[in-house]
Symmetry: C2
Subunit: 175 residues, 2 copies
DNA sequence: GCTAAATCTCTTAGTGGCTAAGATATATAT
DNA sequence: ATATATATCTTAGCCACTAAGAGATTTAGC
């Protein structure tokens, strides 16, 4: 197998491996929502709040891709469960900031412990330099996925016949 | 900062970075479903079919965590859209194998092109040896997440008062 | 300053995918 | 042969979602 061919095969394997693990990651999230007894979108919003801190209802809609109406429902449920609080912005009274209630949110956090433990075990097998490589990849990968999402969204606004011709890769033959 | 402290900080940063990119990955999937005009679960099943090939309806239920009733609906919709075919197992006529219709499924595949292009660009910045490291991590990570999912599911069957005490990490203070 | 347009969240009606329970058909065990 | 187990489908009812628009507040134009 030639040098470049080896790389191509490696890339293909990598893509499949990442797809698999990412699919399993989705399932983990669904399981957390199940165990925690909240809806999937509710958990997704908790996750965003964890990553971004105090954000407005509109921002949640923007990030999740849900309508503002749906977000109102999400916040209602989360607030009733005591996980978040609505906080009207005093500067712009149309806005509603959503803030997690840390003590209550920890009850959700516990369900990520199995995941954290599993990942710690995995990380233990890597040197600090290797971990830095993984970090670099995670950051670059994030930016890539973000850009891809935007590209795909913009496709939505383009009428099908005017879309740039996307060249398809062959579907992988079944194993 | 001490040697081990540096590693701890690195691990924390890594966790956040992976969480971010994985969340964005979920969003990408939702966007694909949107653009393709099919339900989220339908796309998830297409993905499983792509990864595992021809599988039974029951296996889809098992992997997705949906009830068999829900899967019937998924398959009905996918079949109506011409994306999959039901194939009764001749050996065991209770079973129904689901197989993708390759030509039609390619129409879905095209929506992954932006993602593939983005990832290709990212991968271009890595040597073959580094890619091998990423592959190793993706595989080990998959196993880790799989194990974590099982651990979490088993928690579901354990009554709350009998659950092993999960030690919580402090919630990250908001940025 | 006052009116019009824009922005942000919430409300309402209606839709669709989900669960739970059980029906149907086929296979396996006693 | 009968009973039990397995695999999928059916049905009723529920709940989160969308689309459309209302209400409240801010910003822009004159």
């Amino acid at each position: 197998m030639s040098r470049t061919k080896a790389r191509a095969a490696l890339l293909q394997e990598l893509e499949a491996a990442m797809r698999r693990s990412s699919a399993q990651g989705v399932l983990y999230g669904q399981t957390v929502a199940n165990v925690a007894g909240i809806a999937n979108s509710d958990l997704e919003c908790m996750d965003i709040l964890y990553l971004e801190g105090r954000v407005t209802a509109g921002r949640l809609a923007e990030v999740t891709g849900l309508t503002t109406g749906a977000i109102t429902g999400v916040i209602d449920r989360l607030e009733k469960a005591g996980l978040v609080r609505r906080e009207r912005d005093e500067a712009d009274r149309r806005k509603v900031f959503i803030a997690v209630v840390p003590e209550a949110a920890m009850k959700i956090g516990q369900f990520y412990v199995p995941m954290q433990q599993a990942m710690e075990k995995v990380f233990a097998g890597y040197s600090e330099e290797e971990l830095r490589l993984l970090l670099r990849f995670a950051n670059e990968g994030y930016k890539g996925v973000l850009a891809a999402t935007e590209a795909l969204k913009s496709l939505l606004d383009t009428p099908p016949e005017k879309r740039p011709d996307l060249k398809l890769k062959k579907l992988r033959p079944n194993p």
